[in-house]
C-alpha cells in the first residue's frame, strides 16, 4: 500500500491505496464520489473525465498514486459552495444537453477544460474538443448547443474558471 494525499474538489484526502488502483475507482469507491462514471474502461468514451490540475484527463487511465499531491476536480466540485450550478451545468440543463445522462459528467468536465483554453470556440472547435467523449444516445446536437450557451454565459458573467 502507498499513502497518498490528494486534494479533491478543494478537500484534502489522505488514504492508503494499492498502486494498481485506478484514479476513477479511488474517486468512486474510496471517496464515494460516484458522479464520475466508468463507461468503456478503455480510454475511449470519456465518461470518467475529470480535471487534474485544471486539465482534463481520463481517470480510468491513471493510477490514483499518480495524483498524489495533486489537485483533482470532479463533477461534484463544479457547483458553487452554496449549491448553485456551474454555468456549464446550467447550460446542459437548460438546453437539454443530456438524454440518459451517463456521459454528462464527462462532457461537463471536458467542456470546462475546453472553455478554459478557448472561451469562445466555434462549433467545429467544440465538436473536435469533445471528440474524446462519446454519447451513446447520440445527443450531440444539444450537447454542442449547451457548450455554446455555456461559453456565452461564462463570457458575459466573466467567470470563466478552470
Amino acid at each position: 500500500m502507498t499513502r497518498i494525499k490528494v486534494r479533491v474538489n478543494g478537500k484534502e484526502s489522505e488514504k492508503d491505496v494499492e498502486p494498481r488502483l485506478l484514479l476513477v475507482h479511488f474517486l468512486r469507491e474510496v471517496l464515494g464520489l460516484t458522479g464520475t462514471h466508468v463507461g468503456c474502461d478503455t480510454t475511449n468514451c470519456g465518461a470518467c473525465t475529470i480535471l487534474l490540475e485544471g486539465k482534463s484527463v481520463k481517470s480510468c487511465t491513471m493510477f490514483a498514486v499518480q495524483a498524489d499531491g495533486r489537485e483533482v476536480t470532479t463533477i461534484e466540485g463544479m457547483q458553487s459552495p452554496g449549491g448553485e450550478l456551474h454555468p456549464i451545468q446550467r447550460a446542459f440543463w437548460e438546453n437539454h444537453g443530456l438524454q440518459c445522462g451517463y456521459c454528462t459528467p464527462g462532457m461537463v468536465m471536458q467542456a470546462a477544460w475546453l472553455l478554459s483554453e478557448n472561451p469562445d470556440p466555434t462549433e467545429r472547435e467544440i465538436r473536435l474538443g469533445i471528440s474524446g467523449n462519446l454519447c451513446r444516445c447520440t445527443g450531440y446536437q444539444n450537447i454542442v448547443k449547451s457548450i455554446q450557451e455555456a461559453a456565452k454565459a461564462m463570457r458575459t458573467e466573466g467567470k470563466a474558471r478552470r
Binding site: 502507498t2 494499492e18 498502486p19 494498481r20 488502483l21 485506478l22 474502461d41 478503455t42 480510454t43 475511449n44 470519456g46 473525465t49 487534474l52 486539465k55 482534463s56 484527463v57 481520463k58 487511465t61 491513471m62 493510477f63 498514486v65 499518480q66 498524489d68 471536458q110 477544460w113 475546453l114 483554453e117 473536435l128 474538443g129 469533445i130 471528440s131 474524446g132 467523449n133
Partner: protein
Amino acid sequence: MLPRSFQYFAPTTLEEATSLLREHRGDVKVLAGGMSLIPLMKLRLASPGYVVDINRVKGLDYVEESEDGKALLIGSLTRHHALESSPLVKRRVPLLSEAAGSIGDSQVRNLGTIGGALAHSDPSGDWGATILALRGELTVLGSGGERRIPIDDFLLDTFTTALDDGELITRVSVPIPPDKGSGGAYLKLERKAGDFATAGVAVQLTLDEKDEGDRCTYAGIGLTAVGPKNLRASKAEAGLVGNRLTKEAISEAASAAAEECAPTDDPLRGSAKYKREMAGLFTRRALELAAARARKQGGRVQG
C-alpha cells in the same frame, strides 16, 4: 479492469530513475503519460513487477531552441498538448504542432508525452513518422551515460526500439527548418475521430528560392501505420530532392511511398492493398500541402 499488482516508484531525479530501472531491469516499465502503458497493463498484455513513474522528475518537460538556434529541444516528458499549443513550436517547427494536435483526443493529449510515445514505438504512432520527416534524434540516459540516437536507428520494430534495459529518453531534438521556403504537413486517414490511423504521413519540405522558388532541397517523409514500425519513404524522398516539385514529381513520389511501405491486412482498418493505396494518396496530399505552405511567405502553417 485492474492491472496485476506492481511496486510503484516515483523518483524525483534522473539518477534515481535510471538506478531504479537498472536495479529492476527486465521487469520494469517507465510510466510517463501512461496513455499506452496503462491500457496495456489493464488488459494484462503488460504486467511489469515494477513501475517507475517519471512524472515527478524535474527538468524533462520543456521546449526550447538550442543555443545556436539550429535545433528545437524537447524534453521527453513534454505533453502532446504543450507541443500542439506552444507558440515557439508553431513558429519554428509547425509540423510538430500539427502532428501533436492530431493525436488521440484532447484528454489523451493532456497526459501523453512525446518521449513515451516514441519509446512505445507503436507503428500507428504519429510521433515516429513526424520525427523521421524532420530527421530528429533522441538523447537517452542509462548507466553507461548519455548517448544520442538518430530516429532512423532508434525505431527498430513494432514496440521495439534501440533503448537498452535501464535507459530512458531524456530529450528529442529536431533541426529547425529554414525560415523561408519550408513547409510541413501531417495528414492521416482515421475511421472515426480519435482512432489510430489507417494510414498517415508526415512530410517536411524545403524549396530553393533562388531557382524560381520550387527546386526541392530537403524532403522528409515518414509513414504511419503502414508497416511494422514508422517507416521512412526513402525512395520517395530521393526522387524529390534536387528536382522541381511538379505535379508529376509529387505523383511519382507518392507512388514510390505506396510501393515501399509494408502494410498488413487487418479486419478493423482494411486490407493491405487498401492501406497501400491510402498511403500513396495521403503522401500526395501531404506533399501538395507542404509544398503550398513552403511557397507561401515563410512557409509556415497557416491557420
